[in-house]
C-alpha cells in the first residue's frame, strides 16, 4: 500500500465537514428524500386548489346584489337610472330585477332575501317616490344614499349633470400606511421563518438515534471531538434543508409568478427586499442551528424513535412560545420587550427578521448574528458535553425505564 499521502490531524471544522458530507450525501441519495421534497408540495397544491376554488366561491358569494321589485315602469326607470349612474358612482351593488309588481300587489321582500336560488343582499320595493329598502341594518344604511340617488335619477329629479371630479392618486404611502404594511411584511417573514424552522429542525431530533442504533457513534467519538460530530450533523441537516427550501421555493415562485404576482404587490420591508431576503437566509440558518443544536442534544439522549417522538412535543411547544414572544415584541419596536426577544437566542432570529421589515438600520443585524453564532457554539458545546458525560457509558444500561431520559440527562 502506498504510504503517501499520510493522514493528518483534523481541525474541529474539518472533522465536522467529514460528518456533514457523509450525512448530506446519505440523505440526499436516499429514497426517502424524494418524499421529503414532495411532502410540502402536496399541502401547497391542495392549498392552491382550495384557495382558487374558495376565491371563486367567495367572489360569487360576496358580490352583493340589490334586488328590485317594483311596478314595471318604475323597474325600468330604476334600471335605466342605475345604468347611467353606475360609471360615476362606482361602488354601487349589482342590480337585479326580482319581480314586476303590479300596483296594489304586495311583495314579500323578506322571502326574496331568504330565497336560496337568489343571491340578494337587499331588496328595493315601493315606488320611485317612496322606495323601501329591505336588508340587514348596516347594509341598508350604507346603500340608503345610492338607492335614493338612483330613485331620484329615475324620476328625473336628480341634477342633469354632475361636475367632473379630477382624480389625483398618491404613489407614496403615508407614514401610518407604511408602518402598517411593514408590520404585515414582518409578520409574514416571522411566520414563514417559524414554519420552516420547525418543519425542518425537527428532523435533527432523531439524527443521533441512527448512529446509536448502528453502534457507529463510538467510532465517531473516538476519532473526532463530539463537538465536530454535532456540528457536522447540524451542517448536513441545514444543507438538506436548503436543498428542500430551494426546490420548494423555486416551485412556489414559479406558481406565484405564473399567477401574476410580484414582490411589488407586497409592502416593501424597511431594509429593502434584497437585504430582507438575505437576512431571512441568515436568520433561518441561525434559527435552525440554534434549535437544531438543542434538538440534537435532547435527541441524543433518546435511545429509541419512540422517545424522540415523546420529546418533540414539549420542544415544539417551547419554540411556539418563543415565536409568540417574538410576535408580541414585533409590535413594540425599540422597547425593552423587543430587546429581550432579540437577546434570547431562540427568539432572536424571529425578532430580528421582523425588525428588518420595520427598521432600515443594518448594524443591529450584524450584532445579532454574531450573538447568535456565539449561542450556537455554546449550545453545540453543551450538547456535546452532555452527550459525552451522560450517554457514552459502557456496561449495563441504567435509567432506561420510566423517566430514564431525564435521569440520563440530569443524574450525577
Amino acid at each position: 500500500m502506498s504510504v503517501q499521502p499520510r493522514s493528518g490531524r483534523l481541525s474541529t471544522m474539518a472533522a465536522a465537514l467529514v460528518i456533514a458530507r457523509r450525512d448530506f450525501t446519505a440523505i440526499l441519495f436516499s429514497r426517502s428524500f424524494f418524499f421529503f421534497l414532495l411532502g410540502p408540495l402536496f399541502p401547497m397544491l391542495v392549498g392552491g386548489l382550495a384557495g382558487g376554488i374558495g376565491q371563486r366561491v367567495q367572489e360569487k358569494a360576496v358580490r352583493p346584489e340589490l334586488g328590485i321589485a317594483m311596478a314595471p315602469a318604475d323597474l325600468a326607470a330604476m334600471t335605466a337610472a342605475y345604468e347611467r349612474l353606475a360609471p360615476q358612482l362606482g361602488l354601487l351593488p349589482v342590480v337585479v330585477k326580482v319581480a314586476e309588481v303590479e300596483p296594489g300587489q304586495a311583495f314579500d321582500a323578506r322571502a326574496a332575501l331568504s330565497d336560496k336560488r337568489l343571491n340578494l343582499a337587499a331588496v328595493v320595493t315601493g315606488t320611485l317616490d317612496q322606495p323601501v329598502l329591505t336588508g340587514s341594518q348596516d347594509l341598508i344604511e350604507r346603500w340608503q344614499g345610492p338607492v335614493g340617488l338612483v330613485a331620484a335619477e329615475a324620476r328625473q329629479s336628480a341634477p342633469s349633470t354632475f361636475p367632473k371630479v379630477t382624480l389625483a392618486p398618491i404613489t407614496s404611502q403615508t407614514t401610518a400606511d407604511q408602518t402598517r404594511s411593514r408590520l404585515v411584511t414582518a409578520q409574514l417573514g416571522q411566520t414563514v421563518l417559524f414554519l420552516l424552522t420547525m418543519l425542518l429542525a425537527g428532523m435533527v431530533l432523531s439524527n443521533l438515534v441512527e448512529e446509536k442504533g448502528n453502534k457507529i457513534i463510538e467510532v465517531l467519538a473516538a476519532a473526532i471531538p463530539m463537538d465536530a460530530v454535532f456540528l457536522g450533523k447540524l451542517f448536513a441537516m441545514l444543507a438538506v434543508s436548503w436543498v428542500g427550501i430551494t426546490v420548494w421555493g423555486m416551485m412556489g415562485t414559479a406558481v406565484w409568478l405564473v399567477s401574476g404576482h410580484s414582490l411589488q404587490d407586497y409592502p416593501a420591508p424597511a431594509v429593502g427586499w434584497t437585504a430582507f431576503l438575505g437576512l431571512g437566509v441568515l436568520y433561518f440558518s441561525m434559527g435552525y442551528l440554534l434549535l437544531g443544536s438543542l434538538f440534537l442534544a435532547i435527541g441524543s439522549m433518546a435511545s429509541t424513535v419512540r422517545e424522540v417522538q415523546t420529546l418533540s412535543m414539549p420542544v415544539t411547544m417551547l419554540q411556539l412560545l418563543n415565536f409568540f414572544f417574538a410576535s408580541y415584541a414585533m409590535a413594540q419596536p425599540g422597547s425593552v420587550v423587543e430587546l429581550a426577544a432579540a437577546t434570547i437566542p431562540f427568539s432572536s432570529p424571529f425578532t430580528m427578521l421582523a425588525r428588518a421589515a420595520q427598521d432600515p438600520r443594518l448594524w443591529p443585524h450584524a450584532l445579532a448574528l454574531a450573538w447568535q453564532v456565539v449561542c450556537v457554539a455554546l449550545c453545540v458545546r453543551a450538547g456535546a458535553n452532555l452527550f459525552r458525560k451522560r450517554v457514552m457509558k459502557s456496561g449495563p444500561a441504567r435509567g432506561t425505564g420510566k423517566g430514564g431520559l431525564l435521569k440520563r440527562a440530569f443524574a450525577r
Binding site: 483534523l10 457523509r22 473516538a222 473526532i224 457514552m392 457509558k393 456496561g395 450525577r412
Partner: protein
C-alpha cells in the same frame, strides 16, 4: 508471543501512560484508580472479566470520555484527540452505516482520522482485495454477513496506518479461522512497530500474543506487567505419581496437596523440589512420574482477578454486586 518488552517505564518510550484513572457513573465507580504503562511497539492485553471496567478504561484512554480523576498521556499527548490521526480503534460494539459500500466505509473511517477521502477509497479497495474481500468492494454493508462487516470495520481501523491500534474485544463474534487471521494481523502490526492494545476476557489470545498485560478486576488493576511476571505470580504446579499409596514420604507433601486418581497435585513449595525428591526416594515411594509445570496465564488471571474481586466484595459489597 511477540518480542519481550522492556519493563521499566522510565527507560522506554510509552505509547500510553495512565495514572490513577477514576470514572464514576451515577455514583457507581466503574474504574477506580487505574495505572497503565504501555511501551511503544508492544502488544498489550487488557484482561478482565465482563464488567471489570476494560471498555471504560479504553474509552478514557482514547478521549471518548474524560476521567473524573487521574491523568493519561497517549503518544505523548494529554489530549488523545490531538493524536487521533495516529490511532485506530475498533470498539466492542461494531457498527457501520448499512447503506455505505464496503470501500466507502473504509474510506470514511480513514477520513475521520484525517486521511484524504480519495486516498481512503483507493486504499480501501486495495485492502479489501488483499484480504480476500475483493468481491465485496461495491457491496453495501447491509448486504454483507456480520463477520464480513466486522472485517471491513477492522480494515477501516487500519486504513490510515496508525501508530497505535486499540481493539476492544476484537475476537468476539469471529469464527476460529478469522480469529487466527486476526492474531496474525496483530503480530504483523507489531512487527511493523505499531503498538497494539486489545481487551479480552479470553486469556488464550493474550497468552499467545501479548508482551505485557494488565488485569482489571472490579475497576482496579491488581496486576500490570509482562506475561511472564504474571505467570510467575503463581507457583509452578507439580504432578506426582507414585507406586506406593502411603508411607512416611507423605509427610513431605505440602498440606494443600490433593489426590486425584493415581496423581498428587500441589504447588511447588517455596523450598523447591529437592527436599521433596529426597523424601520420596528415602521413603521408597516409587516415583512413576513427576512433572513441574509453570503456571499458565489463565491460572494467573483466575488467581489475580479472583483475589481482587474477593477484596472488592469485602470492601464494598453493594457496588460489587451492582458491577
Amino acid at each position: 508471543m511477540g518480542s519481550s518488552a522492556a519493563t521499566a517505564p522510565d527507560k522506554v518510550n510509552l505509547a500510553i501512560e495512565a495514572r490513577g484513572l477514576i470514572k464514576r457513573f451515577d455514583g457507581f465507580t466503574a474504574v477506580d484508580g487505574v495505572d497503565l504503562s504501555v511501551p511503544e511497539g508492544a502488544i498489550y492485553g487488557i484482561l478482565g472479566p465482563n464488567g471489570a471496567g476494560k471498555t471504560t478504561t479504553l474509552r478514557m484512554l482514547l478521549g471518548i470520555i474524560d476521567p473524573d480523576e487521574g491523568v493519561r498521556r497517549v503518544l505523548g499527548h494529554d489530549r488523545p484527540h490531538e493524536v487521533a490521526h495516529t490511532i485506530g480503534y475498533l470498539p466492542e460494539e461494531r457498527g457501520l452505516y448499512p447503506s455505505m459500500k464496503a470501500y466507502e466505509a473504509i474510506a470514511f473511517m480513514g477520513a475521520l482520522r484525517g486521511l484524504p477521502l480519495a486516498e481512503g477509497r483507493r486504499r480501501g479497495k486495495e485492502l479489501l482485495e488483499a484480504h480476500g474481500l475483493g468481491y465485496a468492494i461495491d457491496r453495501q454493508i447491509r448486504q454483507l454477513s456480520k463477520g464480513m462487516a466486522q472485517q471491513v470495520q477492522l480494515l477501516g481501523t487500519l486504513v490510515h496506518e496508525p501508530r497505535l491500534v486499540v481493539f476492544d474485544e476484537p475476537f468476539s463474534g469471529l469464527d476460529a479461522l478469522n480469529q487466527g487471521k486476526l492474531e496474525r494481523m496483530i503480530r504483523g502490526l507489531a512487527e511493523k512497530g505499531t503498538t497494539v492494545i486489545f481487551s479480552t476476557h479470553v486469556i488464550a489470545h493474550a497468552e499467545r500474543l501479548c508482551d505485557e498485560v494488565a488485569i482489571i478486576a472490579g475497576g482496579k488493576v491488581p496486576f500490570a506487567g509482562p506475561v511472564d511476571v504474571a505467570r510467575d505470580r503463581i507457583r509452578p504446579q507439580v504432578r506426582l505419581e507414585t507406586r506406593a499409596q502411603d508411607g512416611p514420604w507423605r509427610a513431605a507433601l505440602p498440606a494443600e496437596a490433593r489426590h486425584e486418581g493415581s496423581f498428587w497435585y500441589f504447588s511447588l513449595p517455596g523450598s523447591g523440589i529437592e527436599p521433596l525428591l529426597r523424601a520420596l526416594i528415602e521413603g521408597e515411594a516409587g516415583v512413576l512420574s513427576l512433572s513441574i509445570e509453570r503456571a499458565g496465564l489463565h491460572d494467573a488471571f483466575v488467581a489475580i482477578a479472583g483475589e481482587a474481586a474477593a477484596r472488592a466484595l469485602e470492601a464494598s459489597p453493594d457496588e460489587e454486586t451492582a458491577r
